[in-house]
Symmetry: C2
């Protein structure tokens, strides 16, 4: 019986082993003292808790540049997500084959969602259409939305929205990049011509690097998503 110790897993994941054990204990998973965790059983338990044992049908709305790339992406299927339908409002797109599927017209959105029992939708339409598409998805029964359009979506309680904003990803990188460049230059004005400086002497700046917890740092939670 192949096993792993919490120590090994923690090292691989880059986290504290005690934390990992405590987290596992919340899941009810348990190992064998002196031995470790049965790999197969552990994987099953975690998969089940994360909802990976069941198949989730998803619909994708907006089959343009990004939507088509997503539709062609094989990584979804391997994690238990099945693209049930591709939907676009452009009549020119309707009927076209993308990633081996026929693109369906947005008029049938409600029917498609209902017939396939879809609860997760992906929005890759232009920003202007996103809220409207979102409303229709929600009305049709979708309760989780992955949004690629650069808009904040309003949804009723009980509906989850995750927004993928690539610009913000880059901004986070740029933020840390700037910090690297400015390191050591305590009161020096990095960059060119920063005119209005204000009373910078009042600044109580935490030591650089303090804001990072794990392997991937995040910015403070002030800025709205």
């Amino acid at each position: 019986m192949p096993t792993v110790s919490s120590e090994e897993l923690a090292a691989a994941a880059g986290v504290n082993s005690a934390k990992l054990r405590k987290d596992f204990s919340y899941l009810g998973s348990y190992g064998t003292r002196g031995v470790g965790y049965d790999v197969e059983y552990l994987v099953y338990q975690i998969s089940r808790e994360l909802g990976l044992t069941q198949d989730w049908p998803i619909v994708m709305v907006g089959i343009g540049n990004l939507g088509a790339a997503l539709a062609n992406y094989g990584g979804f299927a391997s994690r238990g997500f099945r693209v049930a339908a591709l939907i676009d409002a452009d009549p020119a797109m309707t009927g076209k084959s993308v990633a081996g599927m026929s693109v369906q017209h947005a008029d049938d959105l409600e029917k498609i969602v209902d017939e396939n029992g879809v609860s997760i939708g992906v929005i890759a339409t232009p920003a202007g259409a996103a809220q409207q598409v979102c409303d229709r998805l929600v009305a049709a029964g979708v309760t989780s939305i992955l949004n690629f359009a650069p808009t904040v979506l309003s949804v009723p309680d009980g509906v989850d929205v995750r927004k993928v904003d690539l610009s913000i990803e880059l901004q986070i990188l740029a933020f840390h990049e700037q910090r690297k460049a400015g390191e050591g230059a305590v009161d020096g004005a990095e960059g060119a011509g920063v005119g209005v400086e204000g009373p910078a002497a009042k600044v109580t700046r935490p030591t650089a690097g303090d804001d990072r917890k794990g392997p991937d740092g995040d910015v403070p939670a002030v800025m709205p998503a």
Copy 2:
């Protein structure tokens, strides 16, 4: 002089006003008591702190389905990112025009990075090529990488990597989706035929919803990115 109070901003962002004020105080930005914050000055201060006042040249490597979609995306430029070059290893791609730019060959990667003073790179190659591309980018002087390939990249200290994994985004949605479905069914086995159950009685499960801090919830930090 147009101003905003911390109260207004906090309401708009959905956070506590005290937290917002404290965060602002870290930036050295300061408002006027009894009045609020000068909007223009505040925007400038935050932009500067976040690195938005300078332009960041970026290179994009792997101009396939996803890379091309990204290249066509106008959202980067509006946030101060300039796509300095598109790079692909496929000779058939070289010289082709994508989003108004000529795709350059991967052989010239180092030269391109150097000449443009690029410190941020985007990887949209197949998983197999990602580490190799990453190594070359880093060797050429890139210190921040946005990775779309489903691989964990190894980088030396001082180099930041952010991974965009769309499957994980969907998994997070599915996770919450499952919780919604299982609510109220305290000890009922939702779904079909969950055979091996184990000593579920030992489970000390926190109340559903406890794991959420802000508007967008996240999974516990156990799972590696």
